[in-house]
Amino acid sequence: MTALAFLKIAVYFLLVLVVTKPLGLYMRRVFSGERTFLDPVLLPVERALYRLGGVDPKKEQDWRAYASSMLVFSVLGILGVTAIERLQHLLPLNPDRLPAVPPALAWNTAVSFVTNTNWQAYAGEATMSHLTQMAALAVQNFLSAATGIAIAVAVIRGIARTESRTIGSFWVDLTRATLWVLLPLSLLAAVVLTSQGVVQSFSPSAKVTTLDGATQTVPLGPVASQEAIKELGTNGGGFFNANSSHPYENPTPATDLLEMLLIFAIPAGLTYTLGSMTGKTRHGWAVFWAMGLLFLVGAGAAAWAETHGNPIHHAAGVDPSAGNMEGKEVRFGAGDTALFATVTTAASCGAVNGMHDSFTPLGGLVPLVNIQLGEVVFGGVGAGLYGAFVFIVLSVFIAGLMVGRTPEYLGKKIEGGEVKLAMLSVLVLTFCILVGTAAAVTTKAGLSSLSNAGPHGLSQALYAFTSAAGNNGSALAGLNANTDFYNVLLACAMFFGRFLMIVPILAMAGALAAKKKLADSAGTFPVDGPIFTLLLAGVIVVVGALTYFPVLSLGPVVEQLLMAAGRTF
């Protein structure tokens, strides 16, 4: 059972490895303005969009303008989504006459989708009208993902360029990421998913009579098309409340594998884009392998924990051979679900094909740690790479001195300014997670939402703030998050966790772009090869994860130990 799970991890990782280079190369071509095979179709569309938006595609921006454009675009996105949510009772396409979304939830949901988090504090079918789903949320699935890719590309340009004031145009990157990368890939994926049995229909819900004679309503809809961007854009907000565990979203182990592949495809590909655009493909691979290493360790641990199951269940007579099957789909099994959970949290996606709340503590620790690492184990589309960039800068700074030169990264000196910005983005995440969780477990409003007492309750609150600040969106679903307290605080965590990270990172990119490039020599700090891979992985763990060791030891760690001793919560 465990061996089979490990084998599946290996097969999956091999597939990721296979798509990384072609996709990375393609993205380099798209964002360097080189020719691609889609140009004949897309160039006219692109030109029309620029004319419509009054954008001069030749005009590049410095980091400040780039960041301002991104912020204005995102804030407008939040306002737009909120407006549609609040006014949905007045707008068309609301057949069930759903009322306006309450203010706190509306704000939470708007922030959630614009920040690519897709934290859902509501049940979709009972809260959002069709118009809200389609015009507000689905659109943001594309745009928030495209924003992430744009930022990552701007960061790569900052590293690659020499003595340059600009790092590209946000509007061009956003448009190209949507038209050239997200739309065609999700179209392709949707077709494949449909062929495997994922529903794609505009028919109303079907009413069927079951064998028992009861009537059942089977909701249908354009699922496959949403499914594709849900994974590809590492959004995670499912068509159905049950997300990827629903058979219409994810019918077979094959679609399961494909969906996981979609989650990692762009983040993994971007590591190659990094190498390719900076002219150091070996560096791109070193970053890939650092992420890969952390992923494999996490996936291995989660698979081991879930396939070994819960000794308390076994003592109660549950067949131990299937592993911990609570909250899991039989067609996937414990191993696949553990892998899916690792992938979806490593990549800031948040789609789930099982109940993370029902994982063994160790199995649930892996997703939690994945998010706490800063969503850099491949990470969200774009977000993973620019988050990793922070750790690369820190690694280079900490260990770079050890070769006897002041730290430099691909020829760019890393100085006080860059370190300050890198630490700032680390601090933002730490602050949001720790202070948020502390607020949750010390206030009545926070405590009242926890469905469990003891360490598991702490895990729930911690997971919520971690997921929000890390822009992941998955949850230990036992937490009742639809309260004003959580809606407001978590939305703040999502907002800060996204934009207070991006702005310093763009500032770093701008600073690096302006710098001179130093010549390579035998004395230059090597940022390729296994040593750098291990170093980067080590820094991600020590700087990124150790901070949370105290609170983790009071949550999942002690829970695992208690479970081993025969107690659950």
Partner: protein, 679 residues
């Protein structure tokens, strides 16, 4: 400053002073320079408060011990800095003694009337007279006369040096003593900012400013401190939620263990010690920034003469003309050089003696008169009483000479001359009256061991470029022989400056040495410019280092010291951060084992009690600072390897070592505490 490169790392006499200083440095104003240690001090104060009447929780002995070790952590860090400063202070005291309030003899007015003024009142442009036995009252340039000067007060070198008006040996330093003769010096520095003043301030560390890399590292450490502050401060609510509690003392202990105190406590000591190491090589770095830049250098511009080759060319080979035997040529060459006291001339005599057994003869015995070299004739030699003329000199000069006597210049010799020049040698042609006897080959002699040094530099990723006024052929030949990577031939000072700019534009950091006034622009442009102390005032001011021994090859050592300084900083940062893993495993189970006994499983070190675990971690954290003081002062061991290998080696020692060492250390302290019944 005397040469005490061999002085012991920790001089007992300095330790007492350092110990006292470490208490003086507890003042918050001083601590504010070091954010990490400031947090430790604040924590120590916080932990002390309950002891002085604000109510204690738990065992008093335990709290007392934790508080003591928290204060010890701060004191140890201060001690490290004080020890590093101590050596500089001792040197500064020695220097100050030479700075007596000498009386200067100033020349005033058009009539150059002499008046006695205190040396401290001299300003820029004043003229002073200095005679045998007197101290030179300030930095300046010799404008009249020549004198031998004892500069041992500054350089530690006891042999006197010659200082004369005009040329590149005109600079004199205040505080040095004229041993003979009389000179007039034009003062070039304002009072209080003489070389000696600057030197005192430098070695004392009074002007020590944080280098850019130190500032960046400080930011990183401060950032990490805030991260861990969040982690510990929020731990209280989490503990309360879990049904337990943690006392402020214990939280402070955890915080102090987690924040990077090892590097935070040793950072300034590392910087001071690096400057000090440079100083012990008798190089005066004007700022820590310059030493840091030296570590970054990847192109080294070295002057050929005096750096790569011995100062002078030496006779290497004799090429006789047709019909002349080699011995005959040797004899004529020797005769032509007997009275020639130039190093080249002497080397010809030596060659004749060593290769042909010809002993030196006296001019008197030969009844000949010496004809010295002049710029007009470009020949030197002997005129014998019988009218015989023997000459040696440049080929075209000798050509003219023999033609004038009715002789002719053989084609074979002409070819030899061309070949020697082509191979990088200097051909001298010898003529006996109208007859050409052959060619003497003079060659630059590359200093021993240079090739190995350049190989070492190459391994470190540093390219060496030889600068020479020679023609490209000569330059290429010497470059090949010395093993440098590149050369700049027929170099003018402007070419040098141009080359530096070109290398910098290509992303390289350039170091060079120089001594002449015309080197000044290049010295200023270079990232590291090391001026020779024998050089002119302009050169010394343009560069960011002065080599008191005036030995240009020392640039290589300075580069190594710079690298070592940066490596030490990186190694201790890595060590400090990786230490945290073990400390978590020591303290966390101890904090919460009362709430969740199952957390005992995390107590992988099997520490005796929660108290002993926390105390051991705090003690280890404090003691490791003391244990690493010698390393911080000495620097990590340095080998000229490629960056990849150095990184692997240091990551293994300080990264992996930093992970493992505290497990062993904390366990050992725990055993000791239990044995001593302290916890």
């Amino acid at each position: 400053m005397t040469k005490h490169a061999e002085s012991r790392l920790l001089d007992p006499s300095l330790l007492g002073r350092a110990a006292a200083d470490s208490f003086r440095k507890l003042h918050p104003r001083h601590m504010a320079r070091n954010p990490v240690m400031l947090v430790v001090e604040a924590g120590a104060v916080l932990a002390t408060l309950p002891l002085v009447g604000l109510g204690t929780r738990g065992s008093l002995s335990f709290q007392l011990q934790v508080v003591l070790w928290l204060w010890a952590t701060v004191l140890f860090a201060n001690f490290a800095e004080a020890v590093a400063e101590g050596r500089g202070k001792a040197q500064a005291d020695a220097l100050r003694k030479t700075k007596t309030d000498a009386v200067a003899r100033r020349l005033v007015g058009a009539g150059r009337r002499e008046e006695q003024v205190p040396a401290s009142s001299l300003g820029k442009g004043d003229l002073v007279v200095v005679e045998t036995g007197q101290l030179i009252p300030g930095d300046g340039t010799v404008v009249e006369g020549i004198a031998s000067v004892d500069e041992s007060a500054i350089t530690g070198e006891s042999a006197p040096v010659i200082r004369e008006a005009g040329g590149d040996r005109s600079a004199v330093t205040g505080g040095t003593r004229v041993l003979s003769d009389r000179i007039v010096v034009e003062i070039t520095s304002e009072p209080g900012s003489t070389f000696l003043d600057r030197m005192i301030r430098l070695v004392e560390g009074a002007e020590r400013q944080k280098t850019p890399n130190e500032i960046a590292l400080d930011i990183l450490l401060a950032g990490l401190t805030i991260v861990f502050l969040f982690a510990t401060v929020t731990l209280r609510p989490f503990a309360l939620y879990s049904g337990g509690d943690v006392s402020p003392t214990v939280l402070v202990a955890l915080l102090v263990c987690l924040i990077p105190t090892t590097i935070g406590g040793l950072l300034s000591a590392i910087g001071i010690a690096g400057m000090d190491r440079v100083l012990r090589h008798n190089v005066l770095a004007m700022s820590g920034r310059a030493v840091e830049a030296a570590g970054d250098v990847n192109v080294l511009l070295l002057d050929k003469t005096g750096t790569i080759t011995l100062g002078n060319r030496q006779a290497a080979q004799l090429l006789p003309a047709p019909g002349v035997s080699e011995r005959e040529l040797a004899e004529l060459a020797q005769i032509a050089s007997l009275a020639d006291e130039t190093p080249e001339g002497r080397s010809i005599v030596v060659l004749a003696k060593e290769e042909h057994g010809l002993r030196g003869r006296e001019l008197r015995d030969l009844h000949a008169r010496f004809v010295p070299f002049t710029a007009r004739t470009r020949m030197s030699g002997l005129d014998f009483e019988g009218g015989r003329q023997v000459r040696k000199g440049a080929a075209d000069a000798v050509d003219g000479f023999v033609r004038g006597l009715g002789g002719h210049f053989p084609e074979e010799v002409r070819r030899d001359v061309a070949r020697v020049a082509g191979e990088g040698g200097t051909p001298l042609v010898v003529a006996d009256g109208g007859k050409v006897a052959g060619t003497i080959t003079l060659k630059d002699v590359v200093k021993g061991g240079m090739r190995e040094r350049f190989d070492r530099l190459r391994a470190m990723g540093i390219r060496t470029v030889m600068i020479t006024g020679d023609n490209p052929l000569t330059a290429a030949s010497i470059a090949r022989e010395a093993g440098v990577d590149d050369f700049l031939a027929e170099a003018t000072p402007e070419d040098k400056l141009g080359l530096i700019r070109k290398e910098q534009a290509a992303g390289n950091l350039v170091a060079m040495t120089g001594d002449g006034t015309n080197d000044a622009p290049a010295l200023a442009q270079a990232d590291v410019g090391m001026a020779m102390n024998t050089g002119t005032q302009a050169a010394k001011e343009a560069g960011n280092m002065v080599d008191l021994d005036s030995n240009p090859t020392k640039l290589i050592e300075v580069v190594e010291i710079g690298k070592q300084l940066l490596m030490t900083r990186g190694a201790l940062t890595t060590f400090s951060i990786s230490n945290d893993v073990a400390k978590y495993f020591a303290i966390l189970p101890a904090l919460f084992v009362a709430t969740y006994p199952q957390l005992r499983a995390l107590n992988v070190m099997k520490l005796a009690t929660p108290e002993s675990a926390i105390l051991s971690a705090v003690m280890f954290n404090a003691l490791v600072i003391v244990a690493l003081i010698p390393l911080a002062l000495r620097g990590v061991s340095y080998r000229p390897l490629g960056a990849g290998r150095i990184l692997r080696r240091n990551l293994l020692i300080y990264g992996l070592g930093g992970l493992v060492a505290p497990f062993a250390g904390i366990k050992a302290i725990d055993l000791l505490l239990v044995a001593l019944k302290l916890a």
